[in-house]
Amino acid sequence: MVNACLETLSELVAEDRKIVVLGSDAMNIRERFSPVNKRQYIEMGIAESNLIAAAAGMAACGIIPYVYAVSPFLVYRANEFIRDDVCLQKRNVKIIGYSAGMDYCTSGPTHHATEDIAMLRVLPDLTILSPGSVKEVREIIKNAAYMEGPVYIRLNRESNREIHPGEYQFEIGKAQLMREGNDLTVVTTGSITYDVLQAAEQAQKRNIEVRVLHMDTIKPLDTKTILKAAEETGKIITVEEHSIIGGLGSAVAEILAETNINARLVRMGLNDTFATGYGNHDEIKSMNGLAVEDILRKMLE
């Protein structure tokens, strides 16, 4: 997904001189900018607060800055800068945080972004996008350029598993119905959607039809589609590579709580804990209760 992001960024800067990418010491993006387009890449070093505020300043010069850096360092360290300089001043900055969730699976919790949605969802005027596959990354990175205002894109690093066999059309604030089903609904986001779809397929073999809603937009959330699913299926499981506090699960809980819909809600994710363990991405998901089997088990309960 990172490669798709970098390719799309290179295409964007070639098409539009207004687009400038600001990076933070990442080899992959530095290599992408050749002598031809290197003016449109500015290296800002390992200094995320300055990176975010400088991008906000550039946005006030008619430039569309894309910030590209590791999610946790951007979201946690530079949170006040995202809040005061980007959101509060409605600056047209596109923030790409790569290594969403537990993508940095051998690096430990300092490198995980498992509270980023929680920490950003509360910020007014910020759009939060969370692509689940390569096709989505391409569309979302491209579309963000021409969405007015601050955008955060939660980018998974390595997963290249495609969830859209056919065409994918991005529409801001509109859930992707990945699978029809009336026994229960899973609401999910990011690259873990692929795992959810696998679990749903296995559930079908046991005669349980799971509806899968993939939220490529987390904010604004497609409440209409979620509530309709709650009404029609009576049970919602949220699955996210994120804390269940403040993330997608919380967002769904919030909207359900304000209705009269009688639906059960189960939130899957990190339960008030940092992710433990080291391994590949699948292994670390498994160690933290987010393997395909864990999701399947919850579907069958």
Partner: protein, 269 residues
């Protein structure tokens, strides 16, 4: 404007700060008083083109008041230029007004950046400076920081960045009034040697009396080299109001009636 005219402007604005501060019981008066000459020189000395600052044109000199709590002086200057209405000034920090104790660029015309949280303004100014370079425009960016503000780590992230990118279209002015909210800066966290610090971060540095318009003008008029500039402007917090000068308990205070009568008398208001 001639130096003597700028000095007169500074005196008038000082009186205005105290009057509005007393009438509205709002604003960080001593912080504003220390940078009156710096602000007057920038706004009336030919460094900021106030008419163009109201345009959406991106090619114009820009100013970021990083020590946003001093904004009462900025409001009064913008009011003097007719950009902020007279009736807004007396609604400072009132529910029916647009002016707060920190400037909001979405609400207040003529304000280039919302500040208030310290350690943001320099990075925003760097964004403007990088933007100007990228757009191949020749305008200049000015920002005023407080000395206490230099305790923020982000200031030094920004300083490294400005030095590295050789942003010679950027001038950083430190309003070095030696006091922060609760005590002398030297008692809270030593920032000395301040000039050396900026110099070794890649800035062309100057040290001046920041309450002397002649000195400020002289430095700002010099041609730039290939580095950003940092001006350590030694100032007096509360400058021009004897009861407030160098008194740290005046950081958030406003004069009561008795004090106001004294100030009025002393300043000839």
């Amino acid at each position: 404007m001639q130096i003597y005219e700028l000095e007169k402007k500074a005196l008038d604005l000082r009186k205005k700060i105290m009057e509005v501060g007393y009438l509205t019981q709002s604003g960080h008066l001593s912080s504003a008083l220390s940078c009156v000459e710096l602000m007057v020189t920038l706004y009336y000395g030919g460094f900021l083109d106030i008419k163009r600052s109201m345009q959406t044109n991106f090619d114009r000199n820009r100013f970021v008041l990083s020590k946003g709590h001093a904004c009462i002086i900025q409001y009064l200057i913008l009011n003097d230029y007719g950009i902020i209405d007279d009736n807004e000034i007396l609604k400072l920090c009132r529910p029916n007004g647009i002016l707060g104790a920190h400037p909001d660029c979405l609400k207040v015309p003529g304000i280039e950046a919302t500040t208030g949280a310290l350690g943001h303004g320099l990075s925003l100014a760097i964004g403007y400076a990088l933007g100007a370079k990228y757009n191949e425009q020749n305008h200049h960016i000015y920002t005023i920081l407080g000395d206490g503000e230099c305790e923020e780590g982000s200031v030094w992230e920004a300083a490294l960045c400005a030095g590295h990118h050789k942003l010679n279209n950027l001038t950083v002015i430190i309003d070095y009034n030696k006091l922060q909210a609760s005590d002398y800066t030297a008692n809270i966290t030593t920032i000395e040697p301040l000039k050396d610090k900026w110099a070794c971060f890649g800035f062309e540095t100057f040290e001046i009396n920041g309450n002397r318009i002649e000195e400020i003008t002289e430095i700002l008029q010099r041609p730039v080299c290939d580095k950003p500039r940092a001006i350590i402007a030694h100032t007096i917090k509360g400058k021009g109001v004897s009861m407030i000068e160098n008194q740290n308990y005046w950081h958030g205070r406003k004069p009561n009636k008795e004090e106001w009568l004294l100030i009025k008398d002393q300043m000839g208001i």
